[in-house]
């Protein structure tokens, strides 16, 4: 009796395994019993703690849901951005997130910035992410969110500032405020300071969300901004030209786990629809709609994608 049961159980187990393998699904074994039509787990999207990423996250979710019908789940605003999201991606806590080419290149792969051309960088990013992490990069949105040195309008006019080199001549009377990761990272403040010989009266660490408020209020005079920042072109601030070509390019793209692509057929094609849909100024305008005009980020993302014909109304 006892042995009979065990043998029966063993045969059953083998049969089930074979049957499952034959199905060839990428379903995790725990839910192997579930039928093919069962709802899949939501695709988990992460974003960095900034408005632009919230909008991009919503866009990715909308494109995926529109093209494939898979449910999605967005976790917005992971503190620290790349340095905290990438480890979570490796663990499988997230399936995909919007990333910038040079951030992946320098922060994750630890390569020298600007050591290769932009095209070459994108190819190598795909290669090395595939080999090291089982992830890939899909599509370039078109916007280049790189660093910009931003000064308050009245400071720029008073000293007739156009380039960062102009700023160096008057920096000893000005206060610089930057977000903590920019102040600390190797390609951040230290390089800017040394390249241009900047010597500020005072340098403070500031939360990224407070920089423009502090700049406009006069608490700081200079900050590190980004080329797609909402306030550029709207607030009384001036972007100084990077006349020594210090900054690398940070093109927006999607980093995704390859096993997720296998598990969700059609996902790759959906993500490719994001290719080339944004310019710097369009991105800045979207950021402005959410950040300053206080519009809902999902609505803003939806309206934009519809206007570009990427998703259906």
């Amino acid at each position: 009796m006892k042995w009979g049961k065990r043998i029966f159980a063993g045969v059953l187990a083998v049969a089930l395994t074979v049957a499952l393998a034959a199905c060839g699904t990428a379903e995790p074994s725990t839910s192997g019993q579930g039928s093919q039509t069962a709802q899949k787990d939501p695709i988990k999207i992460a974003t960095k703690p900034m408005t632009e990423q919230y909008i991009l996250g919503e866009m990715l979710a909308l494109v995926i849901e529109d093209a494939t019908g898979y449910p999605t789940e967005i976790t917005k605003g992971i503190g620290g951005g790349t340095s905290n999201i990438h480890p979570a991606m490796e663990k499988g806590d997230f399936d995909l997130y919007p990333e910038y080419t040079s951030s992946g290149w320098a922060v994750v792969l630890k390569h020298e910035l600007k050591s290769v051309s932009d095209e070459e960088m994108f190819q190598k990013l795909k290669e090395e992410y595939h080999n090291k992490y089982g992830m890939t990069w899909i599509g370039l949105y078109g916007a280049n969110n790189t660093y910009a040195v931003v000064v308050r309008g009245d400071v720029a006019r008073e000293h007739d500032l156009e380039t960062v080199s102009d700023l160096a001549k008057v920096s000893s009377g000005l206060v610089f405020g930057g977000n903590p990761d920019y102040m600390e990272r190797e390609d951040g403040f230290a390089v800017l300071r040394d390249t241009y010989g900047l010597n500020f009266k005072k340098v403070v660490d500031l939360d990224i969300g407070l920089k423009y408020t502090a700049l406009v209020n006069g608490d700081i005079d200079v900050t590190n901004g980004y080329t797609t920042d909402a306030q550029l072109g709207h607030a009384d601030v001036a972007v100084l030209a990077d006349d020594k070509q210090l900054q690398a390019n940070y093109f927006g793209s999607t980093v995704v786990r390859e096993d997720t692509l296998e598990e969700y057929p059609g996902l790759q094609e959906a993500l490719e629809k994001m290719d080339g849909i944004l310019t710097d100024s369009e991105m800045a305008q979207l950021n402005y709609s959410v950040e300053v005009e206080k519009k809902d980020e999902k609505q803003v993302a939806h309206d934009y994608l519809v206007s570009k014909g990427v998703i259906k109304e």
Partner: protein, 215 residues
């Protein structure tokens, strides 16, 4: 072990930076402790003399105390901008509660018979306060002071969020850079500073009590 090693490497390589942060941290929390210590003691004494005002004042202090520290910093930005004044103000608001409350509790907890005896001997209101009430309440007040000092030094770590200096800068950079050693290095200095301050106060308390033969 490697982790501890990397913390000490950080201290060694960036000693000036950490010392600067520690200095700012001491200054910011020191000013807040000074203001809250004096003002909190004064308010505590006042409301124990004029008891009708006590529930209102303590209520206000309690409400301020329950605002999460990070949002208190955020709430002050529209009024004070970013930087050290905001940080000191927020820390002071926090530090008030333990001071006011402990002073009040210490004074109101004194045995009525003692006060009756003092009055019977012809002491004035001022003499009763200065010679009887405060010396008897000193233990409770000092307990409040010590917990306030430790708390202010610890909460000071969040001040960097609003652009103030202090060891929070190291913690915040550590968090945003996924560099636990940096975060730990900042936290360790804050903890050491708080412990040291508490020890010194404990020592001062002992000397004071010995002098007044309170043991």
């Amino acid at each position: 072990m490697e982790f501890i090693g990397s913390i000490f490497t950080l201290y060694w390589e960036r000693a000036d930076w950490f010392l600067g942060l520690l200095g700012t941290h001491m200054l910011l929390s020191g000013i807040a402790i000074g203001i809250a210590g004096v003002a909190g003691l004064g308010i505590g004494v006042l409301i124990s003399e004029f008891r009708k005002a006590a529930p209102v004042v303590i209520g206000i202090c309690n409400v301020c105390y329950t605002i999460p520290s990070i949002s208190l910093f955020g709430l002050l930005i529209p009024f004070l901008g970013i930087g050290n004044p905001t940080a000191v103000t927020a820390l002071t608001i926090y530090a008030m509660m333990p001071m006011v409350r402990n002073t009040y509790t210490g004074i109101t907890g004194i045995d009525r018979d003692i006060l009756e005896a003092a009055r019977g001997m012809g002491s004035t209101r001022w003499q009763i306060l200065w010679r009887v009430k405060l010396p008897l309440a000193v233990s409770v007040i000092l307990t409040g002071l010590r917990s306030m000092v430790v708390m202010t030094i610890a909460v000071g770590g969040i001040a960097s969020f609003v652009g103030a200096g202090g060891l929070g800068v190291a913690i915040y950079r550590g968090i945003t850079m996924y560099d636990p050693a940096m975060t730990f290095a900042g936290s360790l200095l804050i903890a050491a500073f708080a412990l040291l301050a508490d020890l010194l106060l404990g020592f001062a308390e002992k000397i004071y009590k010995k002098k007044r033969r309170m043991f």
